[in-house]
Symmetry: C2
Subunit: 284 residues, 2 copies
């Protein structure tokens, strides 16, 4: 069985070296893979591009840029330069999207408003370069439980307030069910994102409690938690979204499982709780 | 030293029986105490009222009502009846406010939109009774990390959307720094709440990471985390809020400490990072 819109984010099989990740993903019938910069760097950029081309997979997105909440200075400039390299790497794969995780509060800071403003400033430094490179920067709103130490962009609305300062080809947003499902405004903000052509990536995984001891590892297979994938998926698809749909799961138990099993289980979960809503949207 | 607006929520010294909690709070110079229904029931309602009156403390709020996301049926009716009793108990103390925690998704449900609608419906059932009893129902938005298992009301804006369906004397909101500090809209929503007379309670405690293993116990003394109490306190006070300010901390380490020490440490933390902004607001 093939999955025309399904992408496996390689972080779901985090411990697989790039060549294994690509093989496992292709063998499991995916159309696409979401890559991370570190394993690509380990394998070598040019060799990675050839590897993926030979596999027949598309690259749905590169993870990740961002982490630019620092105040002005050498470290901030280094972060922005590193984001330019991330744009280059994304373009090398012909991938449409570089995912941006904003970064948390700088050490010792309580200035959330200032950190948020610096995210917008950094994106202003990068937007032209991304657009010239044919890459869309995709601002990812992370769940508010990560606001202090991971990402000061906390809602889809906030991400759109930033993205809309730039052309849609240059800056969009990620809609990740895990991060946004709780938001009373989520359906309206998905519609807003779609209306302005800003949905650069749709990612699906599930929320369940208790929250994992390492809160970053609290993501689950679609269907193993409480998220209503129907309403969210229909909302995204009804805006005309035709891009890949990525499954990205950080979960120690899943990381410890055999990679082919995880790839199969992920596709089966997608087929069970997400794919039916794709067909439903297509019929309308 | 006395603290004219400071209230100790008794959950901060959770293991203290009511008589100890009242004594410790009064001894530490607080003006007010926030009570929970369970220790009051244990001591007896009439005896509790007398005990608190004799102490000279005000009761800033009763915790808690709510937990009414169930679908229609006997359990839902029982929950709403229990909320009427909670209103009676609040009135017995002459306390202004009953705090409402909405409740999470019912077991097995993924219908967040429906659960949220049922919260508004339950409050509609209770609003007149609260108003006649001289008690304001205070909807508490809880941090989105609690949305699935504790409270489907996740933002101050959402709480206000519900509260504004009723008279301000009947239904208001809690502004709890821990729950709302991350929200990009928080200052606007505090202003909105103040403009319509809806701030029924202001509660302060701090956010720090890592999140505690039991996520409910992740609250900290003001100043021990990353919340900017200046901007939030000035925003609340500038709306004309003159009510008590409660410190409510769920934290195993603090629960395990000696109650008088906790009461003193809490007041000192308040004096250090919250009180300066009260004075500043008063001078304007």
């Amino acid at each position: 069985m093939t999955h025309s819109q399904l992408s496996l984010n390689q972080a779901t099989i985090k411990y697989a070296p790039l060549a294994d990740a690509v093989r496992v993903t292709a063998d499991a019938g995916y159309s696409s893979i979401g890559l991370w910069r570190e394993p690509v760097a380990e394998f070598g950029l040019a060799a990675s591009v050839t590897l993926v081309e030979d596999s027949g997979l598309r690259v749905s997105s590169m993870c990740r840029g961002g982490f630019f909440t620092l105040t002005e200075g050498q470290a901030r400039r280094a972060a922005i330069d590193d984001n330019r390299r991330a744009i280059d790497e994304t373009a090398a794969f012909g991938a449409p999207t570089l995912v941006l995780v904003a970064g948390g509060l700088p050490d010792g800071s309580r200035d959330l408003v200032g950190a948020r403003a610096r995210v917008a400033d950094a994106i202003a430094d990068l937007a032209d370069y991304a657009q010239e490179s044919g890459v869309t920067l995709a601002i990812e709103a992370l769940h508010p439980m990560y606001v202090s130490d991971r990402a000061v962009v906390s809602t889809l609305g906030q991400a759109l307030d930033i993205a809309e300062q730039f052309p849609a080809e240059a800056v969009g947003v990620v809609v990740d069910t895990f991060h946004v499902w709780w938001d009373p405004q989520v359906l309206d903000q998905i519609a807003r994102a779609g209306a302005t052509g800003r949905i650069a990536s749709y990612q699906v995984c599930d929320w369940a409690t208790p929250i994992a001891q390492d809160a970053l590892l609290s993501r689950h297979y679609p269907g193993d938690g409480v998220i209503d994938f129907g309403s969210l998926t229909r909302a995204v698809l009804s805006t005309g979204y035709t891009g890949d749909i990525e499954v990205e799961i950080f979960n120690q138990q899943i990381w410890d499982a055999a990679w082919p099993d995880v790839a199969r289980r992920t596709a089966a979960a997608f087929d069970a709780v997400v794919a039916p809503h794709l067909a439903e949207s297509a019929r309308r």
